[in-house]
């Protein structure tokens, strides 16, 4: 067994959580965006992650280890939420329609903040796992050292 796979798994976890954080930041940043000149409105997005499967190339390289060793996590997709726009009655607004409604993206700040907290904790857990692997690897270097 070697440590590189443990490091790679934790790194993939951190990678995915960081990407998730980016989608949350994007949603929050666009909370007050109005429609672009072509009429498209920003759609809040969610990052979908899934378990990474060991690549066939790795299996080929490592014939003694069948494709059973875990490989971490990966980003599957960034998909828009299907919520419709949030309509606010602002008759004087330059982006208002004939009825005086302005369409804003339907970003829910509360759920975004909750997801933000969850994502931060997941990221921290991955960092902990990485640090534990590092400590174990360092301890293994001490084998046979005179005491």
């Amino acid at each position: 067994m070697d440590y590189t796979s443990a490091f790679a798994i934790s790194a993939s976890g951190m990678d995915v959580e960081k990407s998730r954080l980016e989608t949350i930041a994007l949603n929050l940043a666009n909370v007050n965006s109005t429609a672009a000149t072509d009429g498209t409105l920003y759609q809040p997005v969610r990052l979908l992650s899934g378990e990474k499967s060991t690549g066939s190339f790795d299996v080929m390289l490592n014939r003694f280890a069948p494709a059973q060793l875990p490989a971490g996590v990966e980003v599957r997709d960034v998909a828009p939420l299907s919520d419709g726009p949030r309509l606010v009655h602002e008759p004087g607004h330059p982006a208002a329609d004939e009825a005086g409604f302005v369409a804003y993206p339907n970003v829910n700040p509360v759920s975004e903040m909750l997801l933000l907290i969850e994502t931060t904790r997941s990221y921290e857990a991955n960092v902990r796992a990485l640090n534990a692997a590092k400590t174990m690897a360092l301890a293994a270097l001490e084998i046979g050292r005179a005491r």
Binding site: M1, I9, E51, P70, A125, N126, A133, E142, G144
Partner: protein, 129 residues
């Protein structure tokens, strides 16, 4: 003929260390996939087998014990010792506890290995010549 300084102990410790690393990989994967829908956490189960091997320790059949350990080592190296637990989603707190537990076990094994080496060194150095 080379004298086997390590013996069964070193072989057993090596298997246990490898298992600890594999368990760490499993825990790291569980943590990384904490939010993957439908993911079943990975567990490493081999201690019962090592215990069975341990019961053979001290018996006369050293070769059988060695072959048992070799088989265990192969199982760990190939990842066949990994099992999917069927109890639902990952519980992050439990994984963190396993993580701490596993690192401590790993250190304890290394400590024991170090002590054994120290005893061997003592034996080598205390010939009085």
């Amino acid at each position: 003929m080379a004298i086997d300084l390590g013996g069964v102990t070193v072989q057993a410790v090596r298997v246990a260390l490898d298992a600890a690393v594999l368990r760490h990989v499993a825990i790291a994967n569980n943590i990384a996939n904490a939010k993957t829908p439908g993911y079943q956490p990975l567990r490493v189960s081999f201690e019962d087998q090592l215990q069975r091997a341990g019961q053979m320790l001290g018996g006369s059949d050293d070769a059988a014990l060695k072959s048992q350990l070799t088989r265990l080592a192969g199982e760990i190296e190939s990842g066949r010792a990994l099992k999917n637990a069927d109890n639902g989603p990952v519980q992050l707190d439990r994984e963190m506890v396993s993580l701490a537990d596993n690192s401590l076990r790993y250190r304890a094994l290394l400590q024991g290995m170090g002590t054994r080496t120290a005893i061997l060194k003592l034996a080598i150095n205390s010939t009085g010549v």
